[in-house]
């Protein structure tokens, strides 16, 4: 029986189909461990080897990885939500209600998206805190810290643009309050200091953000596109850069 199974396994792993997909065997050698990482598109941003202390939870708190995981969860659940959601003032709220009451697992989907988004905000703040406490921003990682700061802003902005989409009172007023300050931008906001007289509430920075003088249907569409397309794209590019730099700057920082 055992022999038979072994024979079958060998037959499969030696077949042309199998070998066309998986480029390496499964022997327990350093060469194979290296190939496993280098020849896999999902793993190849990792270096083949890292220092032992970087495996420790107590050093990295896993927070960068958790942030990335939360981003992936929101990306997957977000795409699923997009099937059921129309970003217009007529439908937005009703579509969220339909998700809650009519669509199978709609509520769970929405919950996972929202809590993963909140989780991402928590973990990105903790990740930054960890990187500071271990002094990991110091030479040669200065630039990657700067990329990180931009990612921090992007995380906030992703979460903030998504906050409007349910189009309920909570969403509407949180975004109203959150964007009100843009009125007061020096020079570019109509209530800001040093604003030239031809800056009005219909052409200042807040108008550019809201596509209107108050939060309205065009704001909803604008935030939807930012939230679902533009910002995630920028975030993905910057994350790729961020991970690449972690590796090129010599892997996770450590003593020595």
């Amino acid at each position: 029986m055992n022999e038979e199974r072994k024979g079958l396994k060998e037959k499969i792993t030696n077949s042309d189909i199998w070998k066309s997909i998986f480029r390496h065997g499964y022997e327990k050698t350093g060469r194979r461990y290296t190939l496993q990482v280098l020849q896999n598109v999902w793993l190849h941003l990792h270096p083949p080897r890292i220092s032992r202390h970087a495996l420790n939870f107590r050093f990295t708190w896993c927070m960068g990885g958790i942030t990335f995981l939360m981003f992936l969860v929101t990306a997957v659940t977000g795409v699923l939500l997009m099937f059921y959601y129309r970003p217009t003032a007529e439908y937005a709220f009703a579509d969220i209600q339909a998700l809650e009451f009519d669509i199978p697992f709609g509520m769970l989907l929405r919950n996972m998206h929202r809590w993963a988004a909140h989780g991402m905000v928590i973990s990105v703040m903790l990740h930054m805190f960890r990187v500071f406490l271990t002094g990991s921003y110091k030479k040669p990682r200065e630039f990657n810290w700067a990329v990180g700061v931009i990612l921090l802003l992007i995380t906030f902005f992703l979460s903030f643009t998504g906050y409007l989409l349910p189009w309920d009172q909570l969403a509407y007023w949180a975004v109203t309050v959150g964007t009100n300050m843009a009125r007061a931008t020096p020079v570019l906001g109509h209530e800001g200091p040093f604003a030239p007289s031809d800056i009005t509430q219909a052409n200042d920075v807040r108008f550019a953000l809201l596509a209107g003088t108050i939060v309205g249907p065009s704001t909803l569409l604008r935030f939807y596109i930012l939230h679902c397309v533009a910002v995630p794209l920028v975030a993905s590019v910057l994350m790729a850069l961020h991970f690449w730099r972690v590796r090129k700057d010599g892997g996770i920082s450590g003593p020595l």
Binding site: Y33, T34, V37, L43, H46, P47, R49, I50, S51, R52, F57, R58, F59, C62, L69, F93, E100, N111, M112, H118, M125, R130, F132, L133, T134, G135, Y137, K138, K139, R141, E142, W145, V149, F156, S159, F160, Y163, P166, W167, D168, Q169, L170, Y172, W173, A174, T176, V177, G178, N180, M181, R183, A184, P186, E191, P193, I214, S253, G254, P255, L256
Partner: protein, 288 residues
């Protein structure tokens, strides 16, 4: 009290409760490692610097971590439903109107500064300041391990900014701010008609200055004087301090500007809460 219970169990406030546990936990975890390093003089993980294969060792950790986090997220999503209030209505302003929780430290700053400072200039400087950190912190020690002794100033400044000015203000904004953005203690009733008498005065009138022009000059002088504290300290100490010489004048000016700006927030809070000071400088162009 019921109000407070309703507030802390609001689904959107669960992340803040999580932060309340996570931050002390991670502070404890890193403090232990820092203390070991500082006691022995050797970074606590120095012995673990040999290399291991990413596959399977790191990938296994990532996998386990992902499973645990997905379990937590799954339970969280099954237990707690995302909030959905009434449909939006531009004519019905809730009181209080709050930004999402992660912006509440910024909203809290609005109490103490005009919107152009609290909402635009200070957030901008937070970003610039964060990006500047690696370029102005020239201390080569404490890179890649937890320590307190080797970089006390950097740690103190960052922890003050992050833990007190960001996290604590965020918590205050979420849990203690009620109607009219007034402070309500957990056991107090959220009275929407609570009126807090505003007897705020400008700093100049505290000093007995009446004339408008004099008051403006006084305000400018106080702010200019505050920011020249930095350079004064530099010229006083730079002869004898090797650290300041290495830092150099330009870096020093950036550090002192950012540092004094950060301290301006607690200073303004103390002036407001203790002495009811409204503005330090009130002028036709801008108020600070």
């Amino acid at each position: 009290m019921e109000h407070f219970l309703a507030l802390i169990t609001k689904p959107d406030n669960v992340p803040i409760l999580a932060i309340l546990f996570l931050i002390p936990f991670f502070l404890w975890l890193s403090y232990r490692q820092a203390r070991r390093t500082d006691r022995t003089g050797v970074p606590s993980d120095a012995a673990l610097n040999d290399k291991v294969y990413v596959w399977p060792y790191l990938c296994r950790n990532e996998f386990i971590c992902a499973i645990i986090i997905m379990l937590v997220l799954g339970v969280w999503s099954i237990m707690i439903d995302a909030p959905l209030e009434e449909p939006s209505d531009p004519a019905k302003t809730p009181n209080p109107s709050k930004a999402p929780w992660y912006f509440l430290a910024l909203q809290e700053m609005l109490v103490y500064f005009d919107p152009w400072i609290a909402g635009v200039v200070l957030p901008g400087l937070i970003i610039v300041g964060l990006i500047a950190i690696p370029y102005i912190d020239i201390n080569p020690k404490g890179k890649g391990y937890y320590t307190i002794k080797e970089r006390p100033f950097a740690l103190a400044v960052f922890c003050f900014g992050f833990l007190i000015l960001w996290i604590v203000l965020m918590i205050v904004g979420t849990f203690l701010r009620g109607p009219g953005w007034n402070i309500f203690m957990p056991w107090q009733y959220w009275d929407p008609h609570k009126v807090v008498p505003l007897t705020n005065v400008n700093l100049s009138s505290l000093f007995g200055i009446r004339g408008e022009t004099t008051a403006i000059f006084f305000g400018f002088a106080v702010i200019a004087g505050y920011y020249t504290l930095g350079p004064i300290y530099y010229f006083w100490k730079s002869k004898s301090s090797r650290f300041l010489q290495e830092l150099g004048l330009i870096r020093y000016i950036i550090v002192s500007f950012l540092f004094l700006t950060m301290l301006a927030l607690p200073i303004k809070m103390i002036l407001r809460l203790g002495l009811n000071v409204k503005y330090i400088l009130e002028s036709p162009w801008l108020n600070i």
